[in-house]
C-alpha cells in the first residue's frame, strides 16, 4: 500500500501537469514581456517551496535539539533528523532548479545569464549554505553527532537568509532597479496557484520517500533491524 505521502506526491504530479498546461497554453501572455513571463509559473512555485522546505528543516533542527535525552534514547528523536536530511536535500534540489530557471529567464530579458538580482543571489547563497550542511552530514559518521551538528549548522544558516537578502538588495540596488513582472492579470494567478500546490504536494511526496531512505541508511549504518524506533516514526511527513 503506497504511503499517504506517496499518494500526495502523485496528486502533486497531476496538478503540476494541469498547472503547466494552463501556464503554457491557456494563460494570456504578458503585455510587455511576452511569453518569457510564463517561466513565472514554475519559477515562483519553486521559490516558495524552497523556502517552505528550508523552514521545515529549521523546525526539524529545533525538534532534534530540543528533544530530551529520553526521546533520543528511545529513538523517537530520529524522525527529526530524518526530516532535516530530507527537507534540506529537497530544498537544495528545488533551489538548484530556481537558479537555472533564473538564468534562463535573465538571458533573453537582460542579455546576461546572471544579474545580481537580490532574490536570485539570495537563493544562490542559500543553496551554498545548505549544500554545506549536506556536505557536513557526509563527513560525520556517528549518527547522534551528525544530527546535532547539522541541526546547529541549519539553525545558523537559516537565520542568515533574510540578512543575505537585505544586504544584497542594498548592495545590488546601487546598480540597477529590481525588476518584477507587471500587474498580475487574474487569469495568470490560477496557474501560479495550481503549480504552487503541485510543487508543494510533490515536495511532500519526496519527503516521504527521502525520510524513509534516511532511516534505512541510518539503520544500515547502525546494523540494526526494523527496531522499535521505526514504530514511533511511521508516516514521517
Amino acid at each position: 500500500m503506497p504511503r499517504k505521502t506517496t499518494i500526495i506526491g502523485i496528486l502533486g504530479i497531476l496538478l503540476y501537469i494541469v498547472g503547466c498546461y494552463d501556464g503554457l497554453l491557456v494563460a494570456p501572455a504578458d503585455r510587455f514581456m511576452g511569453d518569457i513571463q510564463r517561466i513565472m509559473y514554475v519559477h515562483v512555485p519553486c521559490a516558495w517551496n524552497t523556502l517552505v522546505c528550508f523552514t521545515i528543516s529549521l523546525v526539524a533542527a529545533l525538534g532534534w535539539l530540543l528533544s530530551g535525552a529520553r526521546a533520543r534514547a528511545e529513538g523517537r528523536a530520529w524522525k527529526w533528523d530524518e526530516l532535516l536530511e530530507a527537507t534540506t536535500e529537497i530544498g537544495v534540489v528545488l533551489g538548484a532548479f530556481l537558479v537555472v530557471q533564473g538564468m534562463l529567464w535573465a538571458k533573453p530579458t537582460w542579455g546576461v545569464y546572471w544579474t545580481w538580482d537580490p532574490r536570485l543571489t539570495t537563493v544562490a547563497v542559500m543553496e551554498l549554505m545548505f549544500v554545506a550542511v549536506l556536505a557536513l552530514r557526509g563527513f560525520v559518521d556517528e549518527p547522534v553527532r551528525r544530527a546535532t551538528w547539522s541541526a546547529v549548522v541549519t539553525l545558523v544558516a537559516y537565520v542568515n537568509v533574510p540578512l543575505v537578502y537585505f544586504s544584497v538588495k542594498w548592495w545590488a540596488s546601487l546598480h540597477q532597479v529590481q525588476s518584477s513582472p507587471s500587474t498580475v492579470d487574474p487569469a495568470m494567478v490560477l496557474p501560479l496557484r495550481i503549480n504552487a500546490f503541485a510543487v508543494l504536494f510533490m515536495s511532500i511526496g519526496l519527503m516521504g520517500l527521502r525520510t524513509q531512505l534516511a532511516r534505512r541508511q541510518r539503520q544500515a549504518l547502525l546494523g540494526e533491524s526494523d527496531s522499535d524506533s521505526t514504530a514511533s516514526s511511521g508516516g514521517a511527513a
Binding site: L136, R145, L155, A157, V159, F166
Partner: protein, 225 residues
C-alpha cells in the same frame, strides 16, 4: 566560579597560547601579504583599478587568513583532548566560546590591521575618511568572521575533511558581513560624500550582534559527545 570569571581566565589562557604560537601568527600574516600580491598579478598593473578595489582585496586576504587562524586555534583544543578536560572540570560552555571568540577576534583584527599599511603601499590606497574608521571597520568585520567561525571550527576540527568544511560552511554565511565590510572600507578609502559608511557598518554590527549571541548559545551543544 561563575562563567564571567571563567571566561577571563580562559581568555588569558588563549592569549598565552596565541603568544606561545606567535611564529604561526607571523606566517599567517606573510600568507596574507602574499595573497595581496597575487591579487595584483591576477588583476594586472593598472593602478587605478587596483586602487578602486583595494578594500575588496583587503577583505579577501582577511577571509583567507581567517580560516587558517580559526582552524589552528581549534586544533590546539582538540589535540590531546584538552577541550574535553576543560568541559569536565566543569567549565561553562558559553565561557569557553566567548573566551575563544574574543581572542580569535584579537588575532584576526591584529592581522587585518597589520595588512592595512601594506594595502596602502601596494594599491596606493589612502583612508580619506580617516585611518581610525578604517581600522574600526577591519575589527568589526573580523568579529563578524570570527563569531560563526569559532563555532564552526570546533566542529570541523573533529570532522573528516575539516579543513575543506570550514571555508565551505563559513564563506557563504558571512556574505552579509563581507558586503558590509567591503563597502564600508571602500567608502572610507575612496571618500564618502553621501555619508553611507555608517549604514554599511550598521549592517556589519547587526551581523555581529546576531551571531555573537546565537553562536554563544549553540556552542555548548557541540561539546556533548
Amino acid at each position: 566560579m561563575e562563567p564571567i570569571a571563567q571566561c577571563f581566565t580562559l581568555a588569558r589562557k588563549e592569549l598565552l597560547l596565541q603568544w606561545r604560537t606567535r611564529a604561526r601568527f607571523g606566517s599567517v600574516l606573510v600568507f596574507g601579504v602574499t595573497a595581496l600580491l597575487i591579487f595584483s598579478f591576477a588583476v594586472g598593473p593598472d593602478s587605478t583599478a587596483l586602487k578602486a578595489h583595494a578594500s575588496g582585496y583587503l577583505w579577501l586576504a582577511l577571509l583567507l587568513m581567517s580560516t587558517l587562524s580559526l582552524q589552528e586555534s581549534a586544533r590546539l583544543d582538540v589535540q590531546n583532548g584538552a577541550l574535553e578536560a576543560l568541559v569536565l572540570l566543569p567549565v561553562d560552555g558559553r565561557a569557553l566560546y566567548y573566551a575563544k571568540a574574543l581572542v580569535n577576534t584579537i588575532t584576526l583584527g591584529t592581522l587585518g590591521t597589520l595588512l592595512v599599511p601594506i594595502v596602502a603601499v601596494l594599491y596606493d590606497a589612502s583612508a580619506k575618511e580617516g585611518v581610525g574608521l578604517l581600522v574600526l571597520s577591519v575589527w568589526l568585520g573580523a568579529a563578524a568572521l570570527v563569531a560563526p567561525g569559532t563555532l564552526y571550527a570546533v566542529l570541523t576540527s573533529r570532522a573528516r575533511a575539516g579543513d575543506v568544511m570550514l571555508p565551505l560552511l563559513l564563506f557563504p554565511l558571512v556574505v552579509p558581513a563581507l558586503l558590509g565590510s567591503v563597502k564600508a572600507t571602500e567608502v572610507i578609502m575612496l571618500g564618502d560624500p553621501m555619508g553611507r559608511v555608517y549604514s554599511w557598518l550598521g549592517l556589519v554590527i547587526a551581523f555581529d550582534a546576531i551571531y555573537w549571541s546565537l553562536c554563544g548559545l549553540l556552542y555548548p551543544l557541540l561539546l556533548e559527545d
